[in-house]
Subunit: 558 residues, 2 copies
């Protein structure tokens, strides 16, 4: 039997006109801004706080992932299909993929197998131009900064050595990580060190995803912290009168995008901030539009629950006043073997012993979700070489600590493979009486917030601060940013800040090396290790195997 | 009386749904790929060669311009309105504006006054994402080049010092003109000199505009000349297996965009290559789609007729097999005064003497157009401080050499102000019996082609070649690119290569400093002076005066 590739499955699907998908959400055709026949932007006035309060938000997160990921996007889509199959009106709300990884190793991010959002080519390429708009807004600010350095008449006295704002490009391009600009004489600006990040790492992306309205977006853009003057005064984007022009560039990007799943259910895809140095989840506006129109909204957040769910719950939900009713923890037998100590080549081989050793990782994530007063359900994303004994063990172990675990087969079967998960989610939502409570409140002292996360979520015994981090703490205090949320930047491969420590490490200390400020997004970013902000291409880039024929049919895109 | 700004006029207009504009061209609604309600992409299968041969192509070009431009886009739009008013079915086909100048000095490029294409904000901002697609395709090739330099397994042995391909960004950003990349150690690539051009200067943009089909686009992308190996072999984009991925990024950008004029006539806006180092006119595909659907197509080409019309006729029309029926030469009294020797502060003051002195410039352009066997008509783009005597003089002078000159008032009056111009154009088209003949054929020797242009169009007595240019000629010979078109890069401010020589200089020599190769676009580029490929922002950037309110209404964009 030949397995079809993701793109072949997506191309075999005959798509419904987006008008018909919109109808399922009772959106008037006149409210749709169509981008071709299968994509549309939605207006912000669809947001209805009363409906949001009544409807049900479900977060899909995961145990500590292996490098290939555990399939959160695929599970989110599958679960949405499943919920619709069991008679619930459900919408999936996701992040937009970055173009860079499409030509690198990772590929796109539109789900997989029989759980995909379509048209997958468009979603994985330029989509409706949101990433481009973010990139341009980011780089306009950069151009304004360097133009001000060059300017004689209107200088802000900005010290070029203190500039924190970088340019971005949505491309895997390692050569742009560290560059010098402004070379070649007086006409070409002031020479200084700079670098490009990939577009999802832009604070403008984080801002777009935190914004609650167009006005709020503009205010946040103005609040971007650029650097210091030679006499140590902070300079913000508003000092460069940049926020209106940046907002103009984002006037369409702020509107969420409607597409469809393979089973013709609504999918809202909007925003795509990095999960390592930003909040790693779609826009507040998209989530709210989804909840305004749909009884169930299934959404996801990047990496494992120690990062994705933590930021989703403590940053996004607190900022937006959202209260999730259930959390799905995606686990794979493969990842459990990994956390049980499997060598790289053992990870795909059945091994109950390793699963038993690795279950501690999943258990810690379960305990963590309980701390938020939300009930988790474990979704075991099934692979062909999982042994029944391995799966049985996980289910029983979860049951023993009061949590349901169900096998999820939507990669192969779509919504049908997610019906038991859907039923489990509905049970939790219907039974929920407790209200979600965050781990920390934003108005706590900065160090207390960081410690809360490190100790309660990671399981650390203490937090150390490097010299630079201590200076950064003083800067945050001085600038009056104490009441910002905390957006941790830590490896996704471990509960600790050491990517090699698997399972459920104990008695460890995490070290905050420095603390960045994202004043527009409204959070500080404690850096717990080297964070990649500009990936490179592999020796044989995915682009080499891509083809497009004269009818525009693409192959080799994944 | 308060004059409304361009954006106010545009915003006061209640736009027709793009479906209704498409109906005027007999395009089925199902063939439209809508981008919101007022923009749509058109499929390439609308191209119909039989119709193209029957219908009438009209080029709008200009005398040697002053820095503020003589209003070709505005005249093109006004003429289209005028043609529709006199009972012809006419479509305007234009270039897309670049984002960079919108935030700089020049502003957008959607016409002006009561001759505009709308929605002007969208057209001047991201529009349908074509520029972004070009930028990404360009920069993917850059990333692949630097990745290949870094690669151990798949090295092409490319000599980094010979790389001609630059990155692009659609932003006025002088600090990126000259940079060093790949700094910071072995993980970050190979250090080398590089620089960013603005996106319209990308060869990918030139290619998109020269492509006659999707297959042809892909072939051209593969033909891009990247640089040499250490043993002096040429490397092309196809050696990096880049052309399919680049074409994938351009799969939507290749489709022309339909919008409307203020008087609800069809406007097709597509592609935007620089006019100094590239062909400076919209895509062949857009022009052909227009001509397939419309009895009259009015189009324009950048700068004065020595550059814009020359390239349009010799490069685009020869490549596409197009045969224009009439040429409109835009003149302003202001520009005539300028060429008569007016000082900067005299240019807006009535002065018949200076107009009489400056008319030689217009006359030379008229003579040039006649050389193509096309009859020109002069459109005097009227300004409030033009004297009747000045205008009378121009009309009579033109008549004396057998050319009609009409006053054009569409900035203030829209189509109504262009009816006499429209009638004059219709007369020429109806009377045309001769067939357009180019100045040179592509298969002539390179130097002969360059001399043809320099002598017959510029009026030069001879062409000099710098040492570098001579070496470049040998390279062109060696690479087998002799039969490429010639895309001259010369100042637009003078017939000569010296921007300070106004009027109609005689007995001058032009110097070719070097000759670049755009092997994908299919032309060589003789460089006759410093060409700006990355503008800077002014001390007070236009962005500072832009505003957007909470309903998304923009002001300060021009």
């Amino acid at each position: 039997m030949k397995f079809l590739s993701d793109i072949e499955i997506a191309q075999n699907k005959e798509l419904k006109h987006i008008k018909n998908i919109a109808k399922k959400l009772s959106i008037e055709e006149d409210d749709l801004e169509m981008y071709g026949k299968y994509k549309a932007k939605l207006p912000l006035n669809l947001i209805n706080e009363e409906e949001i309060a009544k409807n049900n938000l479900v977060l899909v997160t995961a145990m500590t992932p292996t490098p290939s990921g555990e399939g959160k996007t695929m599970v989110s889509i599958g679960l949405t299909e499943g919920l619709n199959k069991v008679g619930k009106q459900a919408t999936v709300v996701l992040r937009e993929p970055s173009l860079g990884p499409v030509f690198g190793i990772k590929g796109g991010a539109a789900g997989g197998g029989y759980s995909q959002v379509v048209p997958m080519e468009d979603i994985n390429l330029h989509f409706t131009g949101d990433f481009n708009a973010v990139e341009k807004a980011n780089n306009l600010l950069s151009a304004l900064i360097d133009n001000n350095l060059q300017s004689k008449c209107c200088s802000l006295n900005l010290d070029p050595r203190t500039i924190l704002w970088k340019r971005v490009i949505d491309m895997n391009d390692r050569s742009l990580r560290k560059i010098t600009i402004g070379l070649g004489g007086t006409a070409n600006g002031i020479p200084r060190e700079d670098g490009f990040n990939i577009t999802p790492a832009s604070e403008v992306m984080a801002i777009l995803c935190m914004a609650t309205s167009f006005e709020n977006l503009k205010t946040r853009l103005g609040n971007i912290f650029v650097g210091f003057t030679f006499d140590k005064k902070p300079i913000f984007a508003r000092d460069l009168k940049a926020e209106d022009a940046m907002a103009i560039l984002l006037k369409d990007a702020i509107k969420p995008n409607l597409v469809q799943t393979l089973e013709e259910n609504p999918a809202i895809i909007h925003g795509g901030p990095f999960a390592n140095i930003a909040q790693g989840t779609n826009t507040i506006i998209a989530t709210k539009v989804g909840l305004s129109l749909s009884n169930y909204v299934v959404t996801e957040a990047g990496f494992g629950a120690d990062l994705g769910a933590e930021k989703f719950l403590n940053i996004k939900c607190q900022a937006a006043g959202l209260s999730p009713k259930a959390v799905v923890l995606v686990a794979t037998i493969k990842a459990l073997r990994h956390h049980g100590g499997a060598a790289k080549d053992q990870i795909n081989e059945p091994n109950l012993g390793l699963v038993k050793k690795g279950i501690c990782n999943l258990v810690k994530h379960i305990e963590n979700i309980n701390k938020y007063n939300i009930k988790p359900v474990v979704a075991i994303n099934a692979f062909v070489n999982d042994l029944p004994e391995e799966i049985d063990y996980v289910i029983k172990k979860c049951n023993k600590i009061g949590v349901q675990a169900v096998v999820m087969e939507s990669w192969a079967k779509g919504g049908e493979g997610a019906m038991s998960l859907a039923n489990a989610v509905v049970d939790i939502v219907d039974d929920t009486t407790e209200k979600f409570t965050p781990i920390y409140n934003w108005d706590m002292p900065v160090k207390e917030k960081i410690e809360k996360i490190a100790k309660e979520i990671y399981g650390a015994s203490a937090v150390d601060y490097d010299k630079k981090a201590k200076l950064n703490l003083k800067r945050i205090e001085r600038l009056g940013f104490n009441n910002f949320a905390v957006c941790m930047a830590k490896t996704q491969k471990s509960f600790t800040d050491n990517e090699f420590l698997r399972g459920r490490p104990e008695n460890f200390v995490v070290t905050v090396r420095e603390i960045e400020i994202a004043a527009g997004a409204g959070f500080i970013i404690p850096i717990l290790g080297q964070m990649m902000r500009m990936p490179g291409l592999p020796a044989a880039p995915a682009s080499e195997a891509m083809h497009i024929d004269k009818n525009g049919v693409i192959s080799g895109l994944s």
